[in-house]
């Protein structure tokens, strides 16, 4: 492990600061949890069509 200088410590602090998670990310995460809860996780993972997602 390298030793960090002051600039790197500042850089690291900025990277580690919690960021606001966008609503769309929360929605997809909750959707994944629902698939898991309802045992439909595998069905969801069918290959995606590049045009329709």
């Amino acid at each position: 492990m390298m030793t960090f200088n002051d600039n790197e410590k500042d850089f690291q602090e900025k990277l580690q600061k919690d960021t606001e998670i966008p609503v769309i990310v929360h929605e997809r995460i909750n959707q994944a949890y629902r698939y898991i809860e309802n045992n439909t996780a595998v069905q969801k993972k069918a290959p995606k069509d590049p045009y329709t997602g």
Binding site: M1, M2, N7, E8, D10, F11, Q12, K14, L15, Q16, K17, D18, T19, I21, P22, I24, V25, E27, R28, I29, Q31, A32, Y33, Y35, I36, E37, A41, V42, K44, K45, K48, P50, Y51, G53
Partner: protein, 176 residues
């Protein structure tokens, strides 16, 4: 403490405890989001990659032999999902004759952590993010990115030089 909690949740999740699995993944959201959005540059694609990662981790958790490698394993899955999304977009881009330049969302560019990361060259960015944000060591980063340790080391060294230059520039411009 965090590692002990994760170990506890991984063990429960492996036994089929869905709540434990969801709690475990909740702990990883900050990390997953930063990695995915710095790779894909927009929230919608990052959300897709994260969702696919969660489902893939759920399906394959039992195949993880050593729980201490959970995070390395999960980030590796996430990066592969990001690559898949970029690959699919390239296919669409080719067909639709859209420009190949990556689309940067304003919201992403406005985030402080993204602002310190973006001036770095593309090829150093992910190595730097994993090293400074998550504290992964060179061997772990080499596993995650499927890259030689010597390559990780040299990218890390060059990335560090760019960070130093970035801070020198800030001082010169009076922005420090």
């Amino acid at each position: 403490m965090e590692k002990m909690m994760n170990e506890f949740l991984i063990r429960k999740a492996k036994k089929g405890d869905k709540d434990a699995f969801c709690r475990l993944m909740d702990e990883q959201v900050q990390c997953m989001y930063k990695v995915a959005v710095s790779y894909l540059k927009n929230d919608e694609d990052a959300a897709d990659a994260i969702q696919d990662t969660i489902l893939s981790c759920y399906e394959n958790l039992k195949s993880l032999k050593q729980n201490k490698y959970f995070k390395t394993w999960m980030i590796r899955i996430l990066i592969n999902k990001c690559k898949d999304i970029l690959q699919r977009k390239k296919q669409v881009t080719y067909t639709d004759q859209m420009p190949e330049t990556p689309f940067y969302e304003e919201e992403y560019a406005a985030k402080e952590w993204a602002q310190v990361l973006e001036p770095l060259d593309n090829k150093y960015r992910l190595v730097i993010l994993l090293y400074y944000m998550e504290g992964f060591n060179i061997r772990e980063i080499s596993d995650i990115l499927d890259m030689k340790e010597s390559t990780v080391k040299s990218r890390l060294q060059r990335g560090r030089k760019q960070i130093a230059q970035m801070y020198e520039y800030k001082v010169r411009e009076g922005r420090a």
